[in-house]
Symmetry: C2
């Protein structure tokens, strides 16, 4: 299982966001591309992948690759899935999730709550991390990334405490969705070895 | 200079396409993500990059990294740049390009015409190619990729004739925009060596 936790700091927690202005909706476009980068292969879905979108450290939308039915590679239709999940947020009570469409559910959880759910190797993607190629390829990696904002002090502290490794994917600072694509490629190729 | 040639087989050649339905506009969403993957770094543009969107083998929209001013990472605003270029296509006469916004221009050229303009090493991204890591990192690479469709017989023939190398980026079939991200990472790291 590959997992990606993406921290959205500014996406509004209301379902009345406009699909015509995803950048204006707290840069929801970034999060949508993270979801599609995590799941979309050419004419296939990566079923062994799970994505957690943590919104304002308060609600988390989970996408489960093995159950997803309506995911398309474009931003707008993915944003509609996010909007649908936000529309169900009152049904999320305690840590019980509310499902809004196949494979998509929302729960009342921040980053700490999501980290509690993860198993496998926790990797923080960070420009100050070590080269990813110096690290062996974990069997069940969970990557944590931030949207267009840096990690907050509290998030950075949590990750420093909980992450197994801090790695970087190259000399350039990548968008979160591009980082997910590179991370998948590193895993697909067993560390750039199998093609 | 890094160049990416992306073949769009179904995008309509009219400027009246709807920004609310990019997938319905011949999968323009795919081409828009190719453009943003080629240029967008976190808070920066890759200035030493050029993208050619070849539309129906008839018109080509060129994006010049060093001149781009209004490119944002989301699909919709990038689609507006494509629409703006299509709006200027009557001004493209012979091989003379018409500029529609800073760094964006359209010309009457198909794939063959674009290949004539390329210098450097021509790489065809193809699932039957050799592992990219077995290839040295060229100084001025030009990659050719296709949208959600395979190369047509004519395109495949042209590429077989003109490409210097045929490479693959991993064992999975990637979307074109994800392939661009991986190709950049390969180049950024000098063949997964420099981080």
């Amino acid at each position: 299982m590959r997992q990606f936790v993406v921290l959205g700091h500014e996406v509004p927690l209301t379902a009345d966001l406009s699909l015509d202005d995803l950048t204006g909706a707290g840069r929801l476009d970034v999060l949508c591309r993270c979801v599609t980068s995590a799941f979309c292969l050419s004419h296939a879905i990566r079923e062994d992948t799970r994505v957690w979108l943590v919104l304002q450290d308060e609600f988390t939308i989970r996408f489960e690759g093995s159950e997803l039915r309506n995911l398309n590679p474009d931003e707008r239709s993915t944003a509609a899935l996010v909007r649908g999940a936000l529309d169900e947020k009152d049904g999320a009570i305690g840590h019980m999730a509310a499902e809004s469409s196949p494979g998509v559910s929302i729960s009342r959880r921040g980053l700490a709550g999501v980290l509690d759910e993860l198993d496998g190797t926790l990797l923080e993607l960070h420009e100050a991390g070590g080269p990813v190629v110096e690290s062996d390829v974990p069997g069940d990696p969970a990557f944590v990334l931030s949207d267009h904002r840096n990690f907050t002090a509290r998030e950075a502290e949590l990750l420093a405490e909980r992450a197994d490794r801090r790695v970087r994917l190259g000399p350039e600072r990548l968008h979160a969705d591009h980082a997910i694509t590179v991370a998948h490629n590193w895993l697909d190729t067993g560390g750039f070895a199998r093609y």
